[in-house]
Each structure stands twice: as structure tokens, then as C-alpha cells.
Assembly symmetry: C2
Homo-oligomer: 335 residues x 2
DNA sequence: ATAGGTTGTCGAAGCGCTTCGACTCGGACT
DNA sequence: AGTCCGAGTCGAAGCGCTTCGACAACCTAT
């Protein structure tokens, strides 16, 4: 293992000079710098992470806490994680992967040990028990998702309320008067993950403004659960012609079931999904959808965090505006 | 930030004693140990990760390199990552998330800097350029996947060759004589990710032994790609009654298309999928499938790694035996 | 009773880096 | 000519931990 001292000796300078070449915190003459850089290359030197962390009290690591459960949006989580990792690298940070399993203890452990300089939390619940801990530390953090109380927190999320409103608006404008919402799994609502409820708020609010009837039903993913849910919906509101689907693993089953019942899409019923674009374009019908901007959220989160670590950047709630793309699954309500 | 020294002072012992209480590397009297533990609790002490890494040259971090691409098995990747993270924690390790993006450089950086004690590589290609680097270091590593040359490597993977054989066998036993394989996306074959080719080997080998006709077609995910592929297959081999599907995002489209053509499952055609159980049970038909044991793979990988780090454990290729679960998508070939 | 072994504790020496203060040297300013 | 300043470099002091050797106290065996 090559050390700073060896590089220094090889280049004929002192250790501190090498350090300053690396960090750029003091000016170094061009000739010296080049000599040092040459030595670094020749010896294949990599600074020791532990020593660096100890001396500078900076680990250059960002902790990312992902949900353990897989009842929800797995591809979105993955995409966010990858975006976080790649963006972090462009700023010189690595990413530590924590699962929600440890809960608040993980927060304590990471902040206490200086393992990471900052944290990103996913799957934030409305009244998340990790938040008080984060507020009680000076370690910067960013939430992906929106808790009930955002004071002192930086949050990044899709504006799900606006998303709900947008979906409803789209269907209402097409003339649909009876709209059903296929929600997330019941468990998601029970644990008060905000996004599902905010979406619903947006849907409800706009439906009242526009005089549209709305029926919301949570739904586990998969064919069987969807079949049951759909039957109930059509029983209660036979005139339903518009569907908004939030649970991405209910999309394909819904389409299959509708088709099976002889309801044509979009001639008889319209479907709007809230899902990643990939899902929308790979489905058996190209879906009109509001995209979940996973990459953008991951990137945003990291960039806010880096800004905070650099002393720039303030607490802020960033709600990404939803964009609805019209594809082949929605059309005018039949007269 | 509480330090070891403060704990020592609070407990009225020396720093080294506290360290030994923590590590258990020397015997400590019960009374002293309890006093120290009490102080640790009262002060809320967490050992500083950097200092610990520096002094012990152990970071207690395992690096996990996941593929950047999302053209394949995203949920599987995610499940593996989560299994790795949780298993690692039970052994006192944290997980550093690296994306394939940096390629071999990431390996150099991590081993060179002592950021991690060991690595797990996913999405290993047959002739992976990261392998020489791994061989040239004394840092333990485990591959999830199987390269062409496994000498000096520890690998964990599903036995895809046996998986292929098993799928074929199942269909052949049911009387199917013309079988089509819906493979992974062409890109997967082009980059020589071994598992797809090994599956094919297994299928081909057994088909010859059993005298069954086999047609293999790579296929991108999604409805449209599947439609084209299926049309070609049925054009070339109209008598095809058995399907083996490896690309999980082609499963649902295939089912929909077959249904649409009036082919009943399993009365007219049988379908066997290679996919996680969740996909198999949530599909519109409960699928006969060979499960991809993502969790098991992640867990295995970590446990081998930990064994190596503890000086136990040797290089070894672990191929997990496939298990085929018969569900509702396969049945006897119609006479 | 004494040599020998255990057991429990301590002090001190690093691990490899960052960073502060100090120093030298040349040029710019009085 | 003398003073001041900035640029460029160095030495040394830690950062908080682990670990080695030393040592005291006690407990066996002889």
C-alpha cells in the first residue's frame, strides 16, 4: 500500500506539499505540482480513506437509506439509488447503502460514527421517527418524499397533489364524469407514506371543483387483487369510464381485465397511470401517464446535499412539477 | 462527538481497556466491562469509523458493484442489493454502493484506498475486465454470476444450465415437441453476460437428448417487441406449443398475445418462466416457473465474503440448484 | 514457600492523513 | 535602501482508534 510519505519522498518534497497538491488548498508551483502528480501516477497512489476521514473529519460518503419493503415501486427505488450513486461520484462522494430495517438506529450509528457526511432518506413517512434525530444533528440531510412537518428539512419529491389534480383534469376534460382511482396497496396508506395521500388529495380537490364523481380503492399488486378490486368498483359505479392507476403493478392486470370484459381502451374506458415512462411505454397499451422522475429526484437530492456540505444551500422543499404525457390509453368519453 | 478517551475517563479506566471491551480481544473483568458499557450508554458513544479504519486497517465495509443498466432484471438486482445490505449488517458490515459506470477504476479506487474490505460484483460478464484486477489484489471478493474463467474466484449464481435443462425437461415430459425460447434482450447476449448463454446451453443440450425441437429468439422487453418476436416464431414453427421465457418483462406481453390469438394457457400452449416467484404469482396466469433466488444469492455472497475476511473460507463456485414450481401455465400437450 | 502461569489493566507507539504556523525568497512599494 | 507582502514550501502536531509489550496481582503446582 503506497502512502503519502512515499509519494513525497519519490517526488522529493514534503508530505504536506503532496497533500496540498491533492487538495488544492494552498498554491503550489507548476513544476512541483507536476512532479508530484507524476509520482502519484508512477506509484499508483490512492489516499487512504480512513486516514483522510480521521484527519479531516470528512468521509466523503453519503448515506442512502432505502426502504426494505418491496411492496412498492421497486424500479423507481432502484433508479433513484442509481442516480444518487452516479451523481454522488461526480462530486467525489461515495454512497453507503442502508436499509430501513435498522430504522432510527441507523441514523444514530451513521451520524455518531462519522461514517457518512450526510444522509438521503427515502420512503419517508408522514410522521417519520427518524426526523427528530436528523433535526438534532448538524449533519446535512435530504428527504425524498414529504413528511407532515418539513421545518428545518430539505425535501425533494414529485408534486403528487398536482399530479393527482392533473390526472383528474385530463380525464375530466375528455368528458369522463365517473372516475375510479386504483391506489397503492393498503399497507402503504396504513403506514402513512405521504405521496399516496397527497395524490388522493389532489384528485379529490379537483374532482369537486370540476364536478366529477371519484371512487378511490387501494389495491395490492397482481392480477387477482386487481380482479377483485375492479369487480367492486364496477359494481358500485357501473358508469365508470375513467381510471387513474397509482400502483404500477396493477396496471397490466387492469388492462387485461378491461379487455377481457370487452371494454376497449380508449374507446370505452380511459386509463391514466402514475408510473415511470418505461412502464408506460412498455405496457400492452401505450399509457397516458404522469412520469415519476426518479433520476431527477436522485440527482436533485445529491446536489442539494453537496451544496449544503459546501456551506451553500439552504433548507427547502422542492416539488417537481408533474408532466402528463398523452398516449394511447385515454380518449374522449363515449357519448 | 464523544471519543474513546472520554468514555475511558468517565468509566475511570484507560482508553485501551475501553477498546478491549469493545473488541473483546482481551479478557476484561465483569465489573469493569459493565462499568465501561454503562459509560458508553450514558454518553451515547459511537466509535469513529475513520479512526477505527486507520488503526485497524479494516473499514468494515463491503463494496457492492451493481450494473448501471436497467435493461435486465431490475427487481432481482434490487432484491440482491437489499439482501446483501441486511446480511452484511448482521455481520457488522456496511455496504458501499458502486455502479458499474466507473468499471475497473472503481475496483482500483476501492482497493487502493482501503475504502472497503471486500467486494461483491454483480452482472459479471464472461470475460470481465475487472477480474484481473481482483486477482491481483489480496482483497477478498465474490462474484454474483459466472465468468468464463473462475480460477481463483468465488462465485455465486443460480445454475442456469440446469435451469434450462429443467425447463425443457418439464415441457418435454408433458409431451411438447416444439419449444420456443424467449430470450433476454439482444444486448444481453452481445455483452456476453454468461447466464443467458448458459441457460440456452442447458435448454439445447436437453432438447437434443430428448429429441425436442428448439427455437431460440432474443427479445427486448415490452409488448411491441414481444409481438414481433412471437409472430416470427409462429411463422417459422407454427406447431410450437411450449414456451420458455427468460426475459421477465416479456412474460405478460406474451400471455396477452397468446390469449389474443385464441390460444388457451395451458390447454393449447404451455409457458414456463425463469423469474422471481413474485412475478410468477402476480401474473395474469399463475406461472409455472423456475425461481431466481435473489435473496439467497445475496446472502450467500456476503457470507462467503465474511468467511474469507475471517480467514475461513476458500475459493469456490456455488451454483444454486434450480427449483421448478408447477403452476397454472403448463400442462400436457394437446394430442 | 517459590517458581510459573493466568488474568486484568495500563501506557505508548503508531496508522496515514490534514492543517496550522513558520520560514524563505523574490518582487513591489515607500 | 528598507519594509511589506504573497507565493511556495516544510515541520510538527494532532485526528481517535488499535495493539503490543509490560506489569501487578493473584492463583495454582511443586
Amino acid at each position: 500500500m503506497v502512502t503519502l510519505a512515499e509519494v513525497a519522498q519519490h517526488a522529493g518534497v514534503s508530505a504536506s506539499t503532496v497533500s496540498y497538491v491533492l487538495s488544492g488548498k494552498r498554491s503550489i508551483s507548476t513544476t512541483t505540482r507536476q512532479r508530484v502528480e507524476q509520482s502519484i501516477r508512477e506509484l499508483g497512489y490512492h489516499p487512504n480513506a480512513g486516514a483522510r476521514a480521521l484527519a479531516s473529519s470528512r468521509s466523503n460518503i453519503i448515506a442512502l437509506m432505502i426502504p426494505l419493503r418491496t411492496d412498492m415501486y421497486v424500479p423507481v427505488m432502484m433508479e433513484i439509488a442509481i442516480a444518487v450513486a452516479t451523481t454522488a461520484r461526480t462530486h467525489g462522494y461515495d454512497v453507503l447503502l442502508l436499509t430501513g430495517e435498522e430504522g432510527p438506529d441507523a441514523v444514530r450509528r451513521v451520524t455518531g460514527s462519522g461514517l457518512a457526511d450526510a444522509m438521503i432518506l427515502m420512503d419517508v413517512e408522514l410522521d417519520d421517527e427518524r426526523l427528530p434525530l436528523l433535526r438534532g444533528t448538524d449533519q446535512p440531510s435530504v428527504l425524498i418524499g414529504l413528511p407532515a412537518d418539513t421545518t428545518g428539512m430539505t425535501c425533494v419529491d414529485l408534486d403528487f397533489r398536482a399530479t393527482g389534480a392533473l390526472c383528474l383534469e385530463h380525464l375530466a376534460m375528455l368528458g369522463h364524469r365517473d372516475i375510479a382511482v386504483i391506489g397503492e396497496a393498503p399497507a402503504v396508506y396504513e403506514r402513512h407514506t405521504g405521496f399516496a395521500e397527497r395524490t388522493l388529495d389532489g384528485l379529490r380537490g379537483r374532482s369537486q371543483e370540476l364536478g366529477v364523481r371519484l371512487l378511490h380503492r387501494p389495491c395490492d399488486g397482481g392480477y387477482d387483487a386487481m380482479a377483485v378490486t375492479l369487480a367492486r368498483i364496477l359494481d358500485e359505479r357501473p358508469g365508470t369510464t375513467g381510471f387513474v392507476v397509482q400502483n404500477e403493478s396493477a396496471v397490466e392486470p387492469l388492462l387485461a381485465l378491461l379487455r377481457q370484459q370487452g371494454r376497449a381502451i380508449p374507446e370505452d374506458v380511459s386509463v391514466v397511470a402514475i408510473c415511470p415512462d418505461q412502464v408506460a411505454t412498455q405496457a400492452s397499451v401505450r399509457l397516458t401517464s404522469v412520469a415519476i422522475p426518479a433520476q431527477e429526484m436522485g440527482r436533485h437530492a445529491v446536489e442539494h446535499l453537496v451544496a449544503k456540505l459546501d456551506g451553500r444551500g439552504k433548507d427547502e422543499v422542492v416539488l417537481i412539477a408533474p408532466e402528463l404525457t398523452v398516449r394511447a390509453s385515454s380518449g374522449p368519453a363515449s357519448a
